[in-house]
Amino acid sequence: MTPDYVDISVHAFPEGADTPKRLNLVARSLGFAAIGVTAHSPYWSQLSDSSAISGIEIVAHSVRDLRKKIAFFSDTAPIISVHGGDEQINRAACSDDRVDLLMHPDRGKRGGLNQVTAKIAEKNGVALGLSFGYFWKTREIERSRALALQHQNVALCQKFGVPLVITSDAYSHFDLRAPRQLKALARLLPLEDKEATAALSSAPQNIIKRSTQKEKARV
């Protein structure tokens, strides 16, 4: 039986070029059971679609700003992910158990994670979001650099038991890839088939479960 694959971080219209319904249609034809639409700003999440899980990817310019935004969105957004990159932001995101996902911490100068942040992330149940977009958006030096940083982060997360989540980080349906192709790319990191399957199915499903539990607790 094939597991229910979920692409938990895609960007829909008006941030990306396709409406949530269009992304959902294409994602289902590729073999996904569901998608999660995370917008970088609440301004972008105007079109909601009941078939897609909605979330927010918080962009913060300082740790203080991040904490403020987490407190603000934790009551409204089902999935809270943080736009990583800056090392201080990465660490602050890993220390907050209201955060579900830390996206691409490797966007900064270095990998963005170390043994300390990995341990904190594991303790607080924050997953590492591996954005695979660079595989088809970049080539050569840029891509090999991104691959090297992601390789380092994956090794750290495997060592400390941080859950991994593979996403396409799509801005249009041309950025979506079928689960089996994402798994073939994950082999290059290197992730074993079992780990890649978990990163595409059980790990994002756990995030969704966690968000429903949080919602129930709030009610």
């Binding site: 941030e15 319904k21 249609l25 041309f174 890839r177 790319l185």
Partner: protein, 167 residues
């Protein structure tokens, strides 16, 4: 020259794929792009080992031949193709077979949903011109280019459910 005995020949697999693109793609351009993508990802040595080669392509679907141990490499290569000649594309793997005949029978006998050209002005969810339709999918050229530039595409993609007046 005497042909190699079947037991001495390399064993191949045929990977069937579909290609979604903004504009029609020529076979030559696809062949070059697949070779470039494979070379960029695995290098000359990797490509020579996997023996990646486009066997056939009809504009929307095709077959890539490779060495039987290198099927995941071809799947990864096809995933890294995002653009052909400034035209956004997505290659999706349908499945793998041991012979061309089986690959065609199993994976390439799908019903084609024909892309129709339409022309109507829309305002929901964005103002622009709806130009084409394929199944439930509709593509719009928006008046404001900001969103399409950010996503690096030519069209805004919606479905019939987003704008019911377009049926």
């Amino acid at each position: 020259m005497k042909p190699l005995r079947p037991t001495l020949r390399d064993s191949f697999r045929y990977v069937a794929f579909t290609l979604s693109s903004e504009e029609p793609v020529r076979t030559r351009d696809l062949q070059t792009e697949i070779f470039k993508a494979a070379k960029s990802l695995f290098g000359d040595v990797g490509v020579s080992k996997s023996g990646t080669k486009v066997v056939m392509f009809d504009g929307t679907k095709g077959l890539v031949r490779c060495h039987y141990r290198h099927v995941p490499d071809v799947q990864a290569t096809l995933a890294t193709i995002g653009k052909i000649e400034n035209n956004r594309v997505r290659a999706t793997v349908l499945g793998t077979s041991g012979t061309i005949k089986a690959a065609i029978e199993k994976y390439l006998q799908i019903d084609e949903r024909i892309r129709r050209t339409i022309s109507s002005y829309v305002t929901v969810p964005v103002s622009g011109k709806a130009v084409r339709m394929r199944g439930k999918e509709i593509d719009i050229i928006p008046e404001d280019r900001e969103i399409v530039d950010r996503a690096d595409v030519q069209f805004i993609g919606i479905t019939i459910d987003d704008n019911e007046r377009l049926i």
